[in-house]
């Protein structure tokens, strides 16, 4: 850490101060525990970033949810929508995918911390990660099937406010999930052992946080559509 002093020189000093902000890249010892190489600090901005993005998404979906409640409460034309049964399966799929991604993340964590042997884990990690991705795809396909079933029954976007909200909410959630799938795939393809592992684990952690959020969000939305019918 460097600081300018009264004499205008640059001097190296030991820093204890600051409440928490590490200040420069080159001077920080690696606190990531990853062989003392990688700084902790990129990880933190990415975690902050994703948490804030989730806050915004939460507001977005809460706005839709309150619109749902208000629109339903204020009008006389609401016809409850019979939800396609496949949604139960989809819900199960997304919950399981949350578990599998967590398994993958935890596999990686001790590796990143250098606690366990290196051999063998990337393959297992890739297995769980790949399974999560596949479950994500399965969920989206399931949602498409649900749409198809509704459409086959003659229920479209503009048929009734209940169906409008159904299509809107599932689409909005689906688009976010698609984004999550892109992230999972990118991380998956890059998951070869030679890769810088802490950056990698940052990407894994961030994707996992996002994925859990999407799962929990879906459960909430499903309950809204189901109970608030």
């Amino acid at each position: 850490m460097t600081a300018r002093t009264a004499t205008g020189e640059v001097e190296l000093i030991e820093v204890g101060g600051g409440d928490r902000g590490p200040a420069s890249a080159e001077s920080r010892p690696g606190r990531g525990g990853d062989g003392g190489a990688a700084p902790l600090f990129p990880q933190r901005i990415y975690i902050s970033g994703i948490v804030l993005a989730l806050a915004a998404m939460l507001m977005f979906f809460m706005a839709l949810a309150s619109a749902y409640v208000v629109r339903k409460g204020l009008s006389g034309d609401w016809i409850p929508l019979g939800l396609p049964r496949i949604l139960w399966l989809n819900t199960a799929v997304i919950i399981v995918s949350s578990l599998t991604i967590e398994r993958a993340r935890r596999l990686l964590a001790p590796q990143a911390a250098g606690l366990r042997g290196f051999r063998g884990w990337p393959r297992r990690w890739r297995g769980w990660w790949g399974l999560t991705t596949a479950l994500g795809v399965a969920f989206l396909v399931g949602q498409l099937i649900a749409w198809q079933q509704l459409a086959a029954a003659g229920i479209y976007l503009a048929t009734n406010p209940s169906s409008s909200f159904f299509y809107l909410i599932t689409t909005a959630h689906g688009i976010h999930l698609l984004g999550g799938l892109v992230a999972l795939s990118v991380v998956g393809f890059r998951s070869w052992p030679a890769e810088a592992r802490v950056n990698h684990s940052t990407a894994v952690t961030v994707s996992a946080i996002y994925w859990h959020f999407l799962g929990a969000l879906w459960v909430f939305l499903f309950l809204l559509l189901l109970v608030g019918r």
């Binding site: 600051g18 690696g30 990688a38």
Partner: protein
């Protein structure tokens, strides 16, 4: 790792395009935002001049044209004036412009946390502005539903009036893009403030500008997400035949509208849930700048630093809970109205705390009346005047009369419009030497201030009075109604003052661009200020601190510390050291 490219070590970009257009440098992006806001404010001002012209001389042809303005044309100008000013000026310049430029420097960071995202958010804003302006040129022209785009008018499409077809659709798209830009920008601001502070820059040592940008960013993150959702619903009503906002049984232009069951009130709730925080998004950065400037030019620590921070938080928090005060006449239950009214008046408390603290800072200070200081004091003045009008409006019973009158127009122009713009002017005159290494001309600056200051009171105070006299807002022609026609002299007066006031803004622009090249040269810390932006060269180098982030030893406003060698103690100078490096 040391040799690897680190995300936060920035190589200076090469070539004009990467340096000035698709730049990731927060300072360049800040300037880009400021220029975008300048272009927007010129458009917005031009529209308002046309409106004022029509109000003063309702039967005259417009200058340079053979037409007398139609009511629809007037409403289109009004809609675009409001939208452009609120979004592309008041949201863009104080927060994204100055915030981008100075937040990283003031906390001792090399750049924003996510420089690419930062660049994207500017370009989203740019595209958004282009889409908005395009609405003027499509068939039917610009929308006529006001900056609040109340449904069902905004939801019905072409049949409801000119500009409500493609123009309104573009308007919604533009705002949706703007929402995206704001979300990216605010995410960046918050992360940067939380994670990239230099050693020693504890939260309670941050300049109040940083606090203001930080809290504004939180409001933006929460509010723009809701506006985006509202926009999506409105688009679906317009383009996909849903009925979120369009009620049944509407007959428009002798035609029965096919929609049914929708709720116009739902739009109002969503819009104002965004809209009230938005007014604070516009003004909080100004409050930060004003605190910064007043402390510096009073040569005193800001009075009640912590109270200032907590007041910002209180305003933001309460600001999220008072949207209903825009809907007192919507038929809401008197109990809700009472709750909204009470919460609204509670905002008066933190607002008053801030005002008292500004005055407390001025009290007994060695005041230097620079142009920046004049605008900062002017800000306090109009904030008080406009805010007092707010207390009237916050009473549901009073508001039933005052709602949709010129009283509201006067109120929000003083608070949101003028106060925020005075904050920007204070920031511009104050930071110009840092951004361009030269001073703006102070004599022209004072001329600019005094005429603007007198002008805006002469414009917006009479609006309060005609509002009290019952003059509705958003009327293009007042000649047909007797009691309104009687108020025409007031309109004439306002228009003449407005023309003068707009004219003096030209002095500002000339001063700005002239000083950029020809202004008096400024040293690194010309105002003898304490915060970090004054420790680096003017303009600062690409990564601000040349790879050597500072260490911070003290609070942001240590002016006239007893026993200190001079009347300011910069944040990066340890106790007991005689003079700051930067001033040698």
């Amino acid at each position: 790792m040391a040799t690897e490219a680190h995300p936060l070590v920035h190589e200076a970009p090469q070539g004009f395009v990467w340096k000035y257009i698709f730049s990731k440098d927060h300072k360049v992006i800040g300037i880009q935002y400021l220029l975008l806001a300048m272009v927007s404010v010129v458009i917005g001002m031009y529209l308002s001049v046309l409106m004022r012209f029509h109000l003063a001389w309702p039967n005259a042809k417009l200058p340079f044209s053979d037409d007398i303005m139609t009511s629809e044309h007037y409403l289109a100008l009004m809609t675009m004036h409001g939208t452009i000013m609120v979004f592309f000026v008041l949201t863009t310049a104080p927060q994204s412009g100055f915030g981008n430029y100075f937040l990283p420097i003031q906390i001792g960071a090399a750049d924003m946390a996510f420089p690419t995202l930062n660049m994207l958010s500017f370009w989203f804003t740019f595209v958004s502005l282009m889409v908005m302006v395009a609405a003027f040129f499509v068939t039917g022209g610009a929308p006529i539903s006001g900056w609040t785009a109340y449904a069902p008018l905004s939801a019905l499409g072409e049949i409801a009036g000119p500009g409500l077809g493609l123009g309104q659709t573009l308007w919604i798209f533009s705002l949706a893009i703007f929402c995206g830009a704001s979300l990216m920008g605010s995410l960046n601001f918050i992360t940067t403030t939380l994670d990239l502070r230099a050693r020693g820059m504890s939260l309670m040592r941050m300049p109040l500008t940083v606090w203001a940008w930080f809290i504004t960013a939180i409001l933006m993150l929460l509010a723009f997400a809701v506006l985006l959702a509202a926009g999506v619903l409105l688009l679906l009503d317009r383009l996909a035949a849903t009925s979120f906002f369009i009620p049944g049984g509407l007959v428009v232009s002798d035609q029965l509208i096919a929609h049914q069951g929708g709720s116009p009130l739902l739009w109002q709730h969503l819009l104002w849930f965004f809209g009230h925080p938005e007014v604070y998004i516009a003004i909080l950065p100004g409050m930060g700048i004003v605190s910064h400037v007043i402390s510096c030019f009073s040569r005193k620590p800001i009075f009640g630093y912590r109270a200032m921070v907590y007041a910002l938080f209180a305003i933001a928090l309460l600001g999220l809970m008072v949207w209903g005060h825009h809907m007192f006449v919507s038929g809401m239950s008197p109990y809700s109205a009472f709750a909204f009214s009470l919460l609204t008046m509670c905002i008066g408390v933190p607002s008053a705390i801030k005002t008292f603290n500004w005055i407390g800072t001025l009290w007994g200070g060695k005041i230097r009346f620079t142009t920046a200081m004049l605008f900062a004091i002017g800000f306090v003045s109009v904030f008080i005047s406009g805010g007092l009008g707010g207390i009237f409006l916050a009473q549901p019973t009073v508001d039933i009369f005052l709602h949709d009158t010129y009283f509201v127009v006067g109120h929000f122009h003083l608070t949101m419009g003028v106060a925020a713009i005075f904050g920007m002017f204070a920031g511009t005159y104050f930071w110009f030497p840092k951004m361009f290494g030269r001073f703006m001309n102070e004599s022209l600056g004072k001329l600019h201030f005094w005429i603007s200051f007198i002008g805006i009171y002469a414009i917006f105070m009479p609006m309060h009075f005609i509002g009290l006299a019952g003059h509705p807002r958003r009327y293009a022609d007042t000649t047909g109604v007797d009691f309104l026609a009687e108020m025409n002299p007031v309109h004439l007066f306002i228009t003449i003052v407005a023309l003068v006031t707009v004219g003096v803004q030209i002095v500002f622009f000339l001063n700005f661009f002239w000083s950029m090249r020809k202004g008096k040269k400024a040293e690194i810390n010309p105002w003898h200020a304490t915060t970090l932006e004054w420790t680096v060269s003017s303009p600062p180098p690409h990564d601000n601190f040349a790879g050597r982030p500072p260490t911070i030893y003290r609070g942001a406003y240590e002016y006239s510390v007893p026993g200190a060698p001079q009347d300011y103690s910069p944040q990066h100078v340890p106790e007991g050291v005689s003079a700051p490096v930067s001033d040698r």
